[in-house]
Amino acid sequence: MSGAGLDPKTAPTFPMAAKAMMGDVQLRKNVRHATDVIQEKRARVVSEMPDWQELREAGKQIRRHTMEHLDFYLEEFEANCTRAGGVVHWARDAEEARRIVIGLVKASGSDEVIKIKSMTTEEIQLNSALEAAGIHPYETDLAELIIQLGADRPSHIVVPALHKNREQIREIFQREMNLPELGGRPEDLADAARMFLREKFLRVKTAVSGANFLIAETGGVCVVESEGNGRMCLTLPETLITIAGIDKVLPRFQDLEVMLQLLPRSATGERMNPYNSIWTGVDGASAGDGLRDGARDGLRDGPRVFHVVLMDNARTEILADDEGRQTLNCIRCGACQNVCPVYRQTGGHAYGSVYAGPIGAILTPQLQEMHHAQSLPYASSLCGACYEVCPVKINIPEVLIHLRNKVVKQNTAGVAGLFDVEAGAMKAMALIFRSERRFRAAQRLGRIAERPLVRRDAQGEGWIGWLPGLLGGWTQARDLGEMPKETFRDWWERRGENGN
């Protein structure tokens, strides 16, 4: 039913995927429009917060502290979650996580699950694994539903269907829900989705959810959302399986005070999420409340069986890297995607991973083995807009540069490295810059070397309109001015000699 997931292992390089995206005029228009709208809303609700910078700093400190003591808080979470009636599972990697979830779904006796938005399940491509195991997943987040019905792939971590406009969504609903007469107003689409999903909510007894936060102090899990479909998944089914990266933990319940201000404003430009669900353990865990069993039945609003799968999937490796570690502070608001001029041109699919945009450019190469995502750290002009909006102050440009260094080290290692064209040029230039004499010689040589490429324009100025090899990317859309006859340093010397 759903299309093949985004898999960094098989994805084309960013420049190649981006080139394909550049041809999709409608997609690029949709992405730019949607990110414009969200950015404008975000700017408005952030500007009304006098303590926004202090909040960001608090968010950063909470996340940094958590990562420094992650082992402690994970164990605390496990103990408190278990005490409340939950069952905690640990998954080393994607394969193990999929196996655990499939086993739990089967044990629940269901061959279908309702799902509420979880990028973590996209990360491990859970849906196709469920289908292969004979279990049918139904996405219930509106955007995820659109993606699933359209056999598409998410292109944004908060607004996965942001690359689709309303008319395209209507067509998907008409076709997949068998509603040829469906109107195109937002309420028509919402009604169609509501009818379609309500039947699933009432029928399917097993749910799979993601988590925005795990709270160590209480063993509770928090999901924030806009539609309430998540709450249906969290309260109606008998079995709830939550899957979360180990980075999702927060030390104290009180820390939500900071996070639940930072997240909605950064993500969707809302002051508060319409639905903030926090659940701890299972219904009926507090059997000592003095109620007769029958009386308690009327109060049921949560699962009777609750599992949490805590997934590592390379996160401890990121944790072990001092410079890359701040990547794990991410609270998945997507603000960096909306503001990124690169993402705004390409949309999310070009990143070949469920995590797109600036955060994807640093997260994906660290979650995957680097050679699957070598081009991603370079998918940025280092303009710094992502760092400026990040609610927990992840210095994304700094991490990008750190990862570029890792890529270079990988590419220049061994014998093959000796033949790396870029590395050769870079090393040669570095050698030139280490000596004034060599630098001057290179400046002279440059003027000679460029001569065959220079053409005179109507004003008699020399311009280069075509460059060979690696540099050809420049002349694709830009000319390059001829080098001046005299460098600054030559002028400076001449000036000194003339006694001015």
């Binding site: 080139k19 550049m22 690169v342 570029r404 260094n405 270079v408 340093r489």
Partner: protein, 246 residues
Amino acid sequence: MRVSLFITCYNDTLFPETGKAVVRVLERLGHTVEFPQGQTCCGQMHYNTGYQAEAMPLLSRFVEQFKGAEAVVVPSSSCVAMMRDHYPKMALAIGRVELIAEVDALLPKVFEFSEFLTKRLGLEDVGAYYPHRVTYHASCHGLRNLVLGDGPMRLLKAVRGIDLVELQGLEQCCGFGGTFAVKNADVSSAMLAEKTTAVLNTKAEACTACDNSCLMHIQGALHRQRTGVKTVHLAEILAGDEGALR
């Protein structure tokens, strides 16, 4: 004041007029200007592309050339950002105690050109005359890493004869990003197209900035499209001579 110039490798080679303009403005303001001859490059291109090891010796070289300076002025926001953001960390990585101390002592004396005028000297009017319609592009590094704020705009507003028009999407990257323009040529070109459209919409004769790397990028497209619109470094506008009024 005795001002040492770091003109940067690409300004030296490709945009000598910018360096000359910096000299003209500073001398007009009564300062003594020096140009340490052994200077070459700050190492930004290497560092940002992932060749950190190659950038390290350039840090030592920079410190060697400028450690006695009273003030270092650099007409390039991205090179100054490179120094402020990465030199302390690089010095620590190199691990030579005296180098770490020298970098710490030197960096507070390093200024981007417009920053030197507005923040160090406290000036807005530097006595310039430039009778043209101009729009200003805030380079990302100047805007975000150096937090130049409205400093360059205040300098421009004080220029006699200038017709200053605001650029739409001022804070948007032009798409240069050093090797990004070559490695991701398609995306870079699309970002550039948005920028040049904004520039053309202002009907300005010239687009200015505090960084010739952005301007080289923007100028490259403006020339390719045969628009006739020029780019000019802020220093060259500020060097425009009052004498021309007479």
